[in-house]
């Protein structure tokens, strides 16, 4: 049973948002790279299409969980014209809280075993 009460300072993350943040990790990436990263990590099980991806990025930017940044030094010339995103400090905290919630969910799900 959960002992910590969830508050509004740890906003819940919808599925695509969590995947985007996890795909960004500690690096800065552009949108297409985020899509590729998610697909590779899940071995094709999870595909986020461009419409959903950019809507999610828009919301994460608005919530302050992601911020725009300059392209990394090793970016291709093509890629350097694109926008790059990285996880903000608030985003890191949100991911941490969400993973804790999911572990609680796993505990609750035991009733079906």
């Amino acid at each position: 049973m959960a002992s910590r009460r969830v508050t509004d300072t740890d906003p819940p993350l919808a599925g695509p948002a969590l995947h985007v943040l996890l795909a960004l990790g500690t690096e800065a990436r552009h949108g297409y790279a985020i899509m590729q990263e998610i697909e590779e990590r899940s071995r094709g099980a999870i595909r986020i299409l461009p419409g959903t991806l950019y809507a999610t990025l828009k919301k994460l930017l608005a919530d302050g969980l992601v911020e725009e940044c300059a392209p990394p030094r090793n970016a291709d010339s093509d890629d350097s014209r694109r926008r790059y995103y990285r996880v903000s400090r608030a985003g890191k905290a949100a991911v941490k809280a969400q993973t804790e919630r999911l572990s609680l969910l796993v505990t609750l799900g035991k009733v079906f075993r």
Partner: protein, 856 residues
Amino acid sequence: MWITLCRWILSRSPSSFRVRHGEEVLADLTRRSAHEPAGLARRRWQVAALVDLWRTMRRERRMARSPLWADIGGDVRYAVRGWRRHPAYALTVVVTMAIGLGLAAAIFAFADGYLFRPLPFPGGDRVYRVSDPKAQIASALKATEVVALRDTELRRYGFVEWNTRDTGELDIDGRKVSVLTYEVSQGFRDTVALPLLAGRAFEPADHAPHAPRVAWLSHRFWMKEFGGDPAVVGRRVPFASLETTAAGADVTVVGILGPAFTTLDLNNPPPALVQPARAGRPLRPTTLSFPLVRIPPGETPATVEARIAGVLQAVAPAAEGDVRVVRLTALRELQTRGGRPTARVLLVGALLVLALAASSLIHLLLGRSAVRHREFATRLALGASRWRVVRVFLVEAVLLGGAGVAAGLLAGHALSALIASRIPQLPSGGRSLALVPMLYDWRVVTAAVALGGVLVLLGGLWPAWRVFRWSAAPGRVPRGVFRGILASETAMATIVLAGAATIGVGIFQYLHQPLGFAYEDRVNLVPWGPDGRVLRGVEAEAALTAVRATSGVRLATLATTASGRVTAAPNSASDVTRVEVMQMPVGWIETWGVTLREGRAFVAQEHVARADAAIVTDVFAATTWPHQSALGQTVVAGGASRTVVGVIDSPRWRLSGELQPTVYVPADREGLRAPVTAWVDRRVIAEIEAGQASVLTVPITSAQPGVTVEVRVQTFDDLFMRDVGEPRFQTPIVTAFGALALALAGIGIFGLVSYLVTQRTREFGIRVAVGASRVHVWRCVVGEALLPVAAGLIIGLAVAVWLGRFIEATVFGAFTAGLPVLAGVGGVIVLAAVAAALVPAGRAARVNPVVVLRAD
């Protein structure tokens, strides 16, 4: 083509998304699409991306309007999906609200006119009826006195009249429609500004003796016979009545009265037509009048009464040593006092039924919240705020409530139309429900929406508050709260059921009183002479003789006629001077089957010889000679001293009111008057009902050519048409109240006990596991429910007894339900509670302890 479509979808998204991410989206769509293998796989991917982009655009547009409204839109869609999975729950909530709110709205539409709504014309609160409390008949002024008052400076008050005039037939597009007409005196609308929906007021020229006939239509008649067609104003319609036959006239419709007005006459049905009274008509000295006056601002009823009385004393003085007295009664009081007791009782009953519906609604939502506790816990665990979870609940409650309110308004509209169609047009027991129309207007809709809003708040807030206070585990309803709700529901249902039973039993007793005479197999024959008057004297006797000679007629008699009052009764124990004396024709007692208690009936010779015999009613005998036999006693009437030869049961010709003491004397020939009442064989009744009334009318008309005969088989409703209307109107309404209260209480008890069983499932599992029998569990559940039911029953019965005195004002006669009825109500409530608790008790008794404990 595909990318063009994507561009088009992007062009429809909000600029906040399109400007910022539009180029990236298009670039990634193109690049990613190229990675898919050409052919079907690429097409599939492109279609999926197109659909995803479309949904994203729709979501962004919703978000651009308002994030809050977008969220609430999601909650609405979620709620609708839930109802599709559990339609019975949503349907039960909507139907419960529709029943409670619909009934309350319909009854409010009835009660509003009597309790809250002002008169439907400006200044109605300053209009009064003038009466003379010392007058011989009905406290009325004489028409000649009213004319005299109009000739003085008091004419500024109005002294207008609203009187019945005539019955006749309108020819509406070939259909003959029977109508009752009223007339208004000149300048009526200056005093009583009756609302006109269309057309014009009567002008002075309309009142001229030979002016073309004009009329206003009543709203109800206009809607029913002319379909609400406004083009009827100005139309000429053929109209035949006793008055117009000789003149032969069409009547021109010049106006339509508004829907909020029906009539100002307490004693007769509302009119279909209202016409201007003809000026110059001769007035008989006995013609009575109830004029209406409007008191100007700055004057009071008391001062106006004194002025009118002063003028009357001058023009028509009272007997020596007395003075004329006048009373003004507010028109609103006259219009509403008859229906007010019924309106109050019905409104309280409807509000109690609504409270029961609200209670059931709370149980349903509470039960639903209990069933969904795991869902709410999951949402909280996933990070939803408590407000977010409560909002899901509130949105669902508001949506269901909105649907329930809409259904309630529709049900109320239909119910009010049904109730309005059953309102008796004749007064009952001196009370008329036709004076104030039922209007399902903005007032009723506003009240219904407000009540519905309160229902929704109550129904949604408390369960939502409970959800708000949960942690990850669901909370229980405290036992005290559970008992309180059950007791209050039982109390409300008991009050409504006891009230309904009291009124129902009272009406039953009222309609089944001993009448003192028989009406079955009796036929009333009214012979009208060529001059339009009912036959009297020798002609009446001839009609009687003709009927008696007809095959199938067992006995026949004529009507009794008034013959003054008793002058004195020696040895009497009470004042007899106001007792009426009636002339009794030959065979009256036998034909009507009146019970002769003592002595004998009049013999034929006593009718011929005008003998000084008298027959008295039991009421007269008991009050005049309480400790002696009435036989042989003397009464003085009509200047003659008469000996009492018989005592009969007082016949009850009206269901309401006290039985009046009466003295009967033998009728002589001059005292004979039609109608003829005949006691006939069943065969004759069957022939009349099959349309062959000539079996009785031909003997009369062949003996007296030119006479027409009306035939009516005497039925209970015919005899007491002025007494049965309101009781029969109340009966289905109170029956519905009682049935609904019982049903809603049953649903409420079922819901609450089910909720209790759900909460205590684990406990029952443990009890059974440690050896408790199923019967023990069953007793636990039913016993826990019955305790608060018993408490609620006691409270409800106590309140019902206290309210009984208000209910008695609506029950006809002086009947009270008493202990047997209340005991019956208690028994029904207990049985209903046990029946409602049986199913959840059975479920609790069947709990499998293994399943329950493993779920831990």
